[in-house]
Amino acid sequence: MVIQGLIAVLVVGGLFFAFVSAVGLYRLPDLYTRAHAASKSDTLGSILSLSAVALAFGADVATIKVAMLVALMLITSPTAAHAIARAAHEQGIEPWTRGDDR
């Protein structure tokens, strides 16, 4: 019963952070601020939801795979966002400053 409540809380938390990430991708003014929304809140949302999956499997071999998936997301998602933002910087895309229109 406690496990059930914990799973529900983790899934709802993951959905909340994925929603925050989607709002950030829509509302923020330029590429670099959007990379910030995409890398941080989306990683946290994924990790919370995957923790719910690990709790649902319980003590099983599958839980080790979920832990590997969590570690993989934790490392690769910010790295990919960093690589894309750096590629944009080397292409000469200027960051947004206050006063520019979007």
Partner: protein, 93 residues
């Protein structure tokens, strides 16, 4: 497939992640630069990984987790490959 509240919670979570991903397709269409599209596509890809893992738990099919692992690796590889490609204009591919 198991019945019960845990399964329902996990299916509902998967439905929510799918809805967020479908909404994010708008950012992929709008752009305006190529890197905007790639970042939005990366977020959609990691949401798909989470959806696969949630469905694996909801339907009690642990084999789906291998699919999720491979999808996460390919998602990372796609972002790195596209960012390398845009900087060096075909130098690495």
């Amino acid at each position: 497939m198991i019945e019960g509240p845990v399964s329902t919670i996990l299916f509902a979570g998967a439905l929510g992640f799918v809805t967020i991903s479908v909404v994010l397709l708008g950012r992929i269409l709008v752009g305006p630069t190529m890197q905007d599209r790639v970042i939005a596509l990366n977020v959609v890809g990691s949401n798909v990984v989470v959806v696969i893992a949630l469905l694996a738990a909801a339907m009690e099919l642990p084999a789906f987790l291998d699919v999720a692992l491979v999808y996460a690796l390919l998602n990372f590889l796609m972002s790195i490959a596209i960012s390398k490609f845009t900087v060096e204009q075909g130098g690495v591919l």
